[in-house]
């Protein structure tokens, strides 16, 4: 189990660095369809920022920012966004993940609809990857037993 250590250098550096890591991760996700990067890489970087918070502050403080229940919820929500966009294309009489057919729903040109569709899928992938990375690190570092599980 990870506990907070009162080291001023570690705490200050993590407090300064975490917002910039998250901003960079959002940049990677949002520009995934025309530059290197995408949902998976951006999600990993976003998960790394959460892991840095957990490493420097300990789970006792990190659970107020990002508890494990929310991580489990987000990993399902990410898959739901991905599959939901795919199924939405089925409902407008296209193939699965055929974003061009979403143009009628979004009221834009088909090429613009494809761009928006892949962006939505990447946001879903980013959500799922971020929370799964956080959950894996939490499970490895605690051995699968969280403090609130022991109290019950």
């Amino acid at each position: 189990m990870i506990f907070r250590k009162d080291d001023i250098i570690v705490n200050t550096i993590s407090r300064i660095l975490i917002p910039f890591i998250q901003l960079y991760a959002l940049y990677v996700i949002m520009h995934g369809h025309y530059s290197p990067g995408g949902g998976f890489q951006g999600g990993v970087i976003l998960g790394a920022s959460m892991v840095l918070l957990l490493l420097t502050r300990g789970y006792d403080e990190a659970k107020y920012k990002f508890p494990e229940q929310i991580a489990t919820l987000f990993s399902s929500v990410g898959v739901l966004i991905y599959a939901g966009i795919g199924l939405l294309c089925l409902f407008v009489l296209g193939n699965f993940l055929d974003y061009g057919k979403l143009a009628a729903l979004l009221n834009v040109t088909p090429s613009h609809a494809r761009s928006l569709g892949i962006l939505g899928v990447e946001i879903g992938v980013g959500f799922a990857v971020m929370s799964v990375m956080y959950s894996i690190f939490l499970d490895i570092s605690t051995g699968g037993v969280l403090p609130e599980d022991e109290e019950e």
Binding site: V28, G37, G38, V44, A48, M133, F137, I140, S141
Partner: protein
């Protein structure tokens, strides 16, 4: 492809790979593996595969190192038997 740059990176990759499996301390091995991942990332980037380099840098050097360190935190310095 720039040949001298490629050769230098290749030498560092081999050195890091050999060092990671010969060093005794587990934490040092994980750190050298992280350095190996960064050199592999540079190699992918200079070969033009920027997306692969990005994945290598974020997954292998970032999260992979952290997960290995979390596993090492569960071990002890000396063996029990």
């Amino acid at each position: 492809m720039i040949l001298p740059f490629d050769l230098i990176i290749q030498i560092f990759v081999v050195i890091c790979a050999v060092a990671a499996i010969t060093v005794k301390d587990l934490l040092s091995a994980v750190m050298i593996l992280g350095a190996y991942s960064f050199f592999m990332c540079l190699m992918w980037a200079q070969m033009g595969a920027v997306d692969v380099a990005f994945t290598e840098a974020s997954v292998s050097a970032g999260i992979g190192t952290i997960l290995c360190i979390a596993a090492i935190m569960k071990t002890t310095r000396r063996t029990k038997d």
